[in-house]
């Protein structure tokens, strides 16, 4: 009754249809435009950096030698984060999907999601005040006993604010991403494969190794790649935790810097060419994370075709 009435009032309703589909299409176009604009404005604002005289760039040796150390620092921090977070994240996912009692699994999933909900600045503050001071003693021990390995070269930082601490904080932030994505994949493992393995007398671990992990391999890799994307772009944890410096091999001395933290620390006071320089650094970061994410998505889509999941 009410439908017919209002339909008559709105004429045939054809205008509404047009407006609505137009608006929906417009929103889609807007997203494309925004992403295009992100790339465009970054490029436009970054251009002066590439044409500037090498002596005018911070460090005085041109853009490449300015950006190279902080790209390396970004990669080091992200690598530390992944080395720590990947095994733990996969194990957490396995625990929730295959080990925990069925009625607890849901709640445990929420707990892991809570880790993801805590804002990055709080992780940064926690890392700078609590974690860094806790790690001073282990770092000193590492410098004394494993100092011959370049990455543990002494003297250890007196504050604990090193790239290793930053990497550990990043690992905590990446962990829930890896855990929740791989958990989804583990839950999709065909039940029949698992039951078949168990029926043949496999122990739980053998079942996981033979039925679950091979099925989930693509998913795990893409989850790690997405975590890598997050670790590369994470700013506050590094800005607060790391006391930065020139590029060095040792992970337990203050030094190194990441792109995101470099921008956050210097942008508020920057002007002129320095501003363009930082935006150019942002562009480099954008391209790196874009590449990583695209590879991850490609792996996911390839995996989908094979597995019949979704």
């Amino acid at each position: 009754m009410s439908t017919t009435k209002s339909a008559r009032r709105a004429g045939t309703g054809r205008t509404g249809d047009k407006v609505f589909s137009g608006a929906a299409l417009g929103a889609g176009v807007l997203i494309v435009a925004v992403l295009f604009a992100v790339a465009m404005f970054l490029v436009i604002q970054a251009l002066p950096t590439f044409s500037a005289a090498p002596a005018d760039i911070t460090g005085g040796k041109g853009f490449v030698s300015y950006i190279f150390p902080i790209v390396v620092g970004t990669l080091i921090a992200a690598a530390i984060a992944l080395v720590i977070a990947t095994p733990i994240g996969v194990a957490v996912a396995l625990y929730i999907s295959h080990y925990a009692p069925r009625n607890m699994a849901r709640g445990l999933g929420y707990v892991v999601d809570l880790l993801a909900a805590i804002p990055s600045v709080i992780y940064g503050a926690w890392g700078a005040t609590f974690l860094a001071s806790q790690l001073k003693v282990p770092y000193q021990w590492l410098a004394d006993n494993a100092g011959w390995i370049p990455i543990f070269g002494g003297p250890a930082s007196g504050t604990g604010k090193t790239i290793l601490t930053a990497g550990i904080v990043l690992a905590v932030m990446v962990l829930p991403i890896i855990a929740s994505l791989t958990r989804e994949i583990f839950l999709q493992t065909p039940m029949l494969h698992q039951e078949a393995a168990l029926a043949l007398g496999a122990t739980r671990w053998e079942m996981i190794r033979m039925a679950v992990l091979p099925f989930a391999r693509g998913g795990i890799i893409s989850a790690v790649m997405l975590g890598l994307g997050r670790a590369l772009g994470e700013t506050m944890a590094v800005a607060l935790v790391l006391s930065s410096g020139p590029m060095i091999a040792s992970l337990i001395r203050s030094g190194n810097q990441t792109i995101a933290a470099e921008i956050a620390l210097n942008f508020p006071e920057a002007f002129g060419l320095r501003l363009n320089e930082l935006i150019a650094a942002g562009l480099v970061l954008f391209l790196i994370t874009l590449l990583v994410n695209m590879v991850a998505r490609w792996i996911i889509s390839r995996h989908k075709e094979f597995s019949g999941a979704n």
């Binding site: 929103a27 925004v34 970054l42 625990y95 503050a125 800005a239």
Partner: protein, 368 residues
Amino acid sequence: MATLMTERKRSALTRGRLPKSTPWVVAASSIVVAAALMSLIGFNVFGWAVLSAVLFAAGNVVSSAVVEGRRKATDKLATSLVLGAFLVALLPLVSVIWTVLVNGVPGLLAPGFLGTSMKGVTGAIDNASVANHTPVLGGVYHAFLGSVLITLWATLISVPVGLLTSIYLVEYSDGNKFSKVITFLVDVMTGIPSIVAGLFAAAFFGLVMGPGTKTGFVAAVALSVLMIPVVVRSSEEMLKIVPNELREAAYALGVRKWRTILKVVIPTAISGIASGVTLAIARVIGETAPLLVTAGFATQINSNVFAGWMASLPTFIYTQIMTPTSPSNPDPSNQRAWAAALLLILLVMLLNLGARLVARIFAPKTGR
């Protein structure tokens, strides 16, 4: 003891298996041994717990290897490693929440913390409050207001754009090329580092409004770049699971497509959409990096998002820690920072809880 029990049973089915009491025996003995070892090198509870757990796992695996064989032992080892990893993952969560609670509660309870701004609070005032042991002055009202306003504007921008895009993807596109492009770009957008989103907004408004433009609205635009993909993805998922029969029933009654979407599809999916939006808000309200480069640092109340610098909770925490108001006495600044951190965590947790609540309240009343 283990051998005694197996001898008593001697059933073919239980031969070569450890009795059920083994884990308890191993647990008790590993706790005792760990306590003994820790008392040799200096006792602390955390080390005791870790050592007990390691000894327990090792004891289980070794006893299983001796009695039950290699396969069972590997299984036990894997179980202990997986459980151990889960417990290790919980450590930072507990530690972060504990640190924030311990450091944040005194500041949050300080009089006037929620009601005042940092206007006029200088290093001298902080020094005086430390010297005279008077309560720390200054508060978080301006930052709280800024966070709420910036997030509100970001939501106002992102929800219509995100929702309409997901409607286009699900209802109008029929899986054409353009929709594939949008889906791909939304995925790419999800991966944009937050600092790059901030740089984009800063660069955009820098070109349009003159360099150095920093207002709450610029920050809201930066946050929208981060929020839109989240809204699109969650709403898309929700619209997809609306049963097609509902749409067909509406079309069969002669209802126009746009009215079908507005009156049938969206109301059915509203619970999921609303909780997705709430989760997106919870994600962006804690973002710091984009605000750092777009909103500036204000110490006073500014309720106009279109003019002037604006404070927010995350940048407030950041600046109070990195550049204390009084460099010689950072304690008052730290107290304010941790109190603001506690407030922010409470806000995010409330939003997360709210999302679950919203999903339950708006859930369509179906027969399921």
